[in-house]
């Protein structure tokens, strides 16, 4: 019975020109977006590779200068992307492209594309294949579901079906399967398109990881669309007219896809505000100068360092120590600022986590937020991936800062400061190599959002089952 109803539903969908048209438009839009995404990804990766190579060359060829000034000249790095970014560019338009790794300060992402590119912030964010699948696919799922049962009621078909003793639950299940099969076609097509494109564009070593990530991404989108289809069908089962059903479905879509994401972003910032750069640096600077946990600030520590160094070398004046005290001082300063920075950064991470928890809470009301977060995570374009890159770059920055300080310590004697390093010294600093975490790491980071999606799918199924028991002709 269920199979027969599903087949009939699928047939009806194919005969309904409007839905075929909508599906076609959806597919065409996704294909166009994926093509544009491919071009952008390809261009971005070429530019990034050129940038990284040129920045490295500039480091090597900066000329002779003081090691500390070389540390301030620093190194520039740019976050690499997985090829799935052609389907899901995630945070790319609004996240900084580069990190400047220089002395003393933890790097902060800068050079945000949307600050220069007006075209990135003028629409409603439906420029990528993934966004089109989720936002317009979601609308299609809701509209298909919402019109499905109520139309049968308005045309009297439902009365005839129920009069024949067909179980309402079986009938509704059949309808769901038929509609899901119709909806699966653009989803499967786009999934194959995205996976194939990403696999082709990917480096061989990453290909398997990319395919696994794509599978999770598409599964999450399928969960989202399945849940919305069930919600649409439940609305249809309960609504008195197709007008009311459509309005209810539209309200769910506007609420979940247009309003909720902005509300989540605004609430995150209002309830857990990110400190401004100025406030963050001011707080770091205060702890640096004044100390914490009963430890004195930098001046007190410097005095202690001077005293211990004089004792260690058995001399009375810093000028007489048999090492470069300037280098020692810089090392100590960096070690202290690292401690201060770790404390400040831990506080900042807590803010990010609170913001993520707020988004998660709102995702339980609007599954689009969860689906988008998962797809960004799988594409390696979410904030967790950006932060992973930042943290590894920070570890590199600290290491090369120590190298520069050691060069200074070994290059001068006593309390002298001036010396110059040269290309050989700069070449001893290894280039930054970043390895993106694997799919397991990404799934772990997105686990709460995946659970929300699964819960939504289950709740939508339960709602549909409940609506089926109340089905009236």
């Amino acid at each position: 019975m269920i199979g027969a109803v599903a087949r009939r539903e699928l047939l009806l969908q194919f005969r309904d020109g409007r839905l075929v048209l909508a599906g076609g438009v959806l597919l065409a839009a996704m294909a166009a977006a994926a093509l544009a995404g491919w071009t952008q990804f390809d261009r971005a990766e070429r530019e990034r590779a050129h940038f990284v190579a040129a920045a490295r060359s500039q480091w090597l060829n900066q000329g002779e200068r003081h090691p500390h000034r070389a540390a301030h000249f620093g190194a520039y790095v740019a976050k690499p992307e997985l090829s799935l970014a052609l389907f899901e560019p995630g945070l790319r338009p609004f996240a900084g492209q580069t990190l400047w790794l220089e002395a003393h300060d933890r790097p902060v992402f800068a050079n945000i594309p949307s600050e220069d590119d007006l075209t990135l912030s003028t629409g409603l964010g439906v420029a990528s294949g993934s966004a089109i699948l989720q936002i317009l696919g979601g609308l299609l799922a809701l509209a298909m579901g919402a019109l499905s049962i109520v139309r049968e009621r308005e045309t009297g078909v439902l009365r005839q079906v129920l009069a024949q003793g067909v179980s309402p639950r079986a009938w509704v299940t059949g309808k769901f399967i038929g509609l899901a099969a119709a909806l699966a076609m653009p989803v499967i097509a786009s999934g194959l398109l995205a996976t194939a494109g990403a696999a082709i564009a990917s480096a061989p070593a990453q290909r398997f990881d990319v395919v696994l990530r794509a599978a999770v991404l598409i599964a999450a989108d399928a969960l989202l669309l399945g849940a919305l289809l069930a919600v649409g069908l439940a609305i249809s089962a309960l609504a008195r007219s197709s007008r009311a059903a459509l309005m209810a479905a539209l309200a769910v879509w506007v609420g979940g896809f247009v309003l909720a994401p902005r509300a989540a972003a605004t609430m995150s910032e209002q309830l857990a505000p990110t400190p401004t750069m100025e406030a963050y640096r001011k707080a770091s600077s205060a702890e640096f100068s004044e100390g914490f946990d009963a430890r004195g600030g930098y001046d007190a520590q410097l005095k202690a360092l001077e005293a211990s160094t004089l004792r260690q070398f058995g001399v009375q004046r810093l000028e007489d120590v048999r090492t470069g005290f300037s280098g020692l001082r810089m090392k100590h300063m960096d070690a202290w600022s690292t401690e201060v920075d770790d404390r400040q950064y831990a506080r900042l991470v807590q803010v990010y986590e609170r913001q993520s928890a707020i988004r998660l809470a709102l995702a339980s009301a609007a599954p689009f937020i969860a689906a988008r977060s998962v797809s960004q995570g799988m594409a390696g374009m979410d904030w967790a991936h950006y932060r992973d890159f930042l943290e590894k770059a920070e570890a590199y920055r600290r290491a090369f800062g120590r190298q520069m300080n050691t060069l200074l310590q070994n290059g001068v004697r006593g309390d002298r400061w001036e010396m110059d390093g040269d290309r050989d010294d700069w070449a001893k600093v290894a280039a930054f190599q970043y390895r993106m975490p694997g799919v397991g790491w990404a799934i772990t980071r997105q686990a709460p959002f995946l659970l929300v999606l699964a819960a939504w799918a289950l709740a939508a199924a339960a709602l549909l089952a409940l609506a089926a028991t109340r089905l009236k002709p």
């Binding site: 007006l118 990135l120 247009v258 994401p261 400190p275 750069m277 963050y280 900042l348 993520s356």
Partner: protein, 475 residues
């Protein structure tokens, strides 16, 4: 006719669904306004605090100098008020652009004009304005009045207007209506007019309140801009309601009408801006920041390699500026090396920065021209322009900033380069930043173009509505 409108208004406000929808819109508008007010207040208080800090910092330096000259205090190694390399070389003076007329309307995802800059003798081109924000919070854009008026207003208009006739047709009462001495067209226009007025009252009223709260001190500037925005809002909402009239003239039932209007909204508000963005991005690519970073570093490396030559060239061009006081090697570096290199750096980089700004402006111009194809895009661009997010405002601001930096450098140039001590008179006559507003003619030419981009589709939609409704059949 007035009787008909009055009657339709009465029927409109009696329907609980309509009032409920308006209440939701009111709450959303109020939230958008609240966010705008909060952002603007934070931005302005940060600017006020920075300006106050600057005033007190220079007053403290001046006072210290007075005491130093009177022999009441002893000069330390750092923080000297009379050594220009310590007192003014890197002292960043806060500068702010002239406030936008209606900043409260939009907290745009990307604001090209910095609302607060710190200008010192050193170059401004290395400032990256980094932010610690999680970009996820910027991805969807802010919940501001621009969002409510641009995207939600039309959706509410469509929901309120999609069945003004289609429902009567569906319920079989359209023929009865048509037999009451009023044409279906007159009835439909009255119903849509009532909805138009209700939407304007809600969105316009909240926006007006927000503008009064934030701009109470300069209403003479804000009110004309607000009148322009209100007119643009009317054109935008008018377009969407006229579109529902076209669809109502033809649709057989309400469900078909709702699907049609939703399709048009998706096409014009979601697809068209994305498509326009894609085309504009191809025709006028954004400035390449990565290239910009490489350029800055390449200039910096080159100047570093030629640092002795650059320093020699500077002092040979300005022999009167040769240092008369020899500080220690650490201090000497900041004057005899860093300062000439800073000047050379700016000479090399300024044309490139100007090219990047020109690329931003070019993109904006193309977006405005293309906005004739999407009223939502035209209205968003117009709102953001009035809220201060146009790249031309950035160019005007940075031009005045560069002019100020030149005067600031000029004031201290001799004493800094020659390491001559500052006097109280140097503090008393230091140049102050003067805000220069954008040229009004250029500004209003942009706004007029966007108004035209809103008028054109409205006129087409009205003509279509007139034609569709005058031919509308009761069944």
């Amino acid at each position: 006719m007035i009787g008909l409108w009055r009657q339709e208004w009465h029927l409109f406000v009696k329907a609980r669904a309509n009032v409920g929808l308006l209440a939701v819109l009111l709450v959303l508008s109020a939230l958008g306004a609240w966010n705008g007010i909060e952002r603007l207040a934070a931005e302005r208080s940060a600017a006020v605090a920075a300006l106050a800090d600057d005033v007190s910092s220079f007053a403290a330096k001046r006072e210290k100098l007075v005491q130093l000259e009177a022999g009441k205090i002893v000069e330390g190694r750092f923080g000297s008020p009379r050594k220009p390399q310590q007192a003014v070389l890197s002292a960043g003076r806060p500068v702010t652009p002239p406030p936008a007329e209606l900043g409260v309307l939009s907290s745009a995802e990307a604001r090209p004009t910095p609302e607060l800059l710190r200008i010192s003798i050193l170059t401004r081109h290395k400032d990256q304005q980094p932010t610690l924000d999680d970009p996820s919070n910027r991805l969807d854009g802010p919940f501001d009045l621009a969002f409510v008026a641009t995207w939600l207003g039309p959706l509410f208009a469509l929901i309120l207007g999609y069945d003004v006739l289609a429902r009567d047709r569906e319920q079989g009462v359209a023929a009865l209506l048509a037999s009451q001495g009023r044409s279906l067209a007159a009835i439909a226009f009255a119903r849509l007019g009532v909805r138009f007025a209700a939407l304007m009252i809600v969105i316009g009223g909240v926006a007006f309140g927000a503008a009064i709260v934030t701009e109470s001190g300069r209403l003479a500037v804000a009110l004309p801009a607000f009148a322009v925005w209100l007119l643009a809002l009317g054109l935008s909402l008018g377009f969407w309601l006229a579109l529902t009239a076209v669809i109502n003239g033809r649709a057989k039932n309400a469900a078909a009408a709702s699907l049609a209007v939703l399709g048009v909204w998706i096409g014009l508000s979601m697809f068209m801006p994305a498509l326009i963005g894609s085309v504009v991005n191809t025709l006028a690519p954004p400035p390449d920041r990565l290239q910009g970073v490489l350029k800055l570093r390449s200039v910096e490396s080159d100047l570093n390699r030629r640092r002795r030559e650059v320093t020699a060239a500077y002092y040979s061009a300005y022999p009167a500026n040769r240092p008369i006081v020899q500080g220690d090697e650490y201090e000497h570096y900041f004057v005899t090396e860093l300062y000439p290199r800073t000047l050379a750096f700016d000479r090399a980089v300024t044309p490139f920065a100007a090219q990047m700004d020109a690329a931003r402006v070019r993109q904006a111009e193309l977006m405005r021209a293309a906005s004739f194809l999407s009223p939502s895009l035209a209205f968003k661009l117009l709102t953001e322009d009035l809220a201060g997010a146009a790249p031309e405002r950035r160019v005007a601001f940075l031009t005045s900033v560069d002019d100020y930096q030149a005067r600031w450098r000029g004031h201290f140039d001799h004493k800094l380069a020659s390491m001559t001590w500052l006097t109280v008179a140097d503090y008393d006559h230091k140049p102050e930043f003067k805000r220069a507003a954008e040229r009004a003619a250029a500004r209003w030419a942009r706004i007029s173009l966007l108004m035209a981009a809103l008028c054109a589709p409205l006129l087409i939609a009205l003509a279509g509505a007139w034609r569709a409704l005058s031919r509308a059949a009761p069944t």
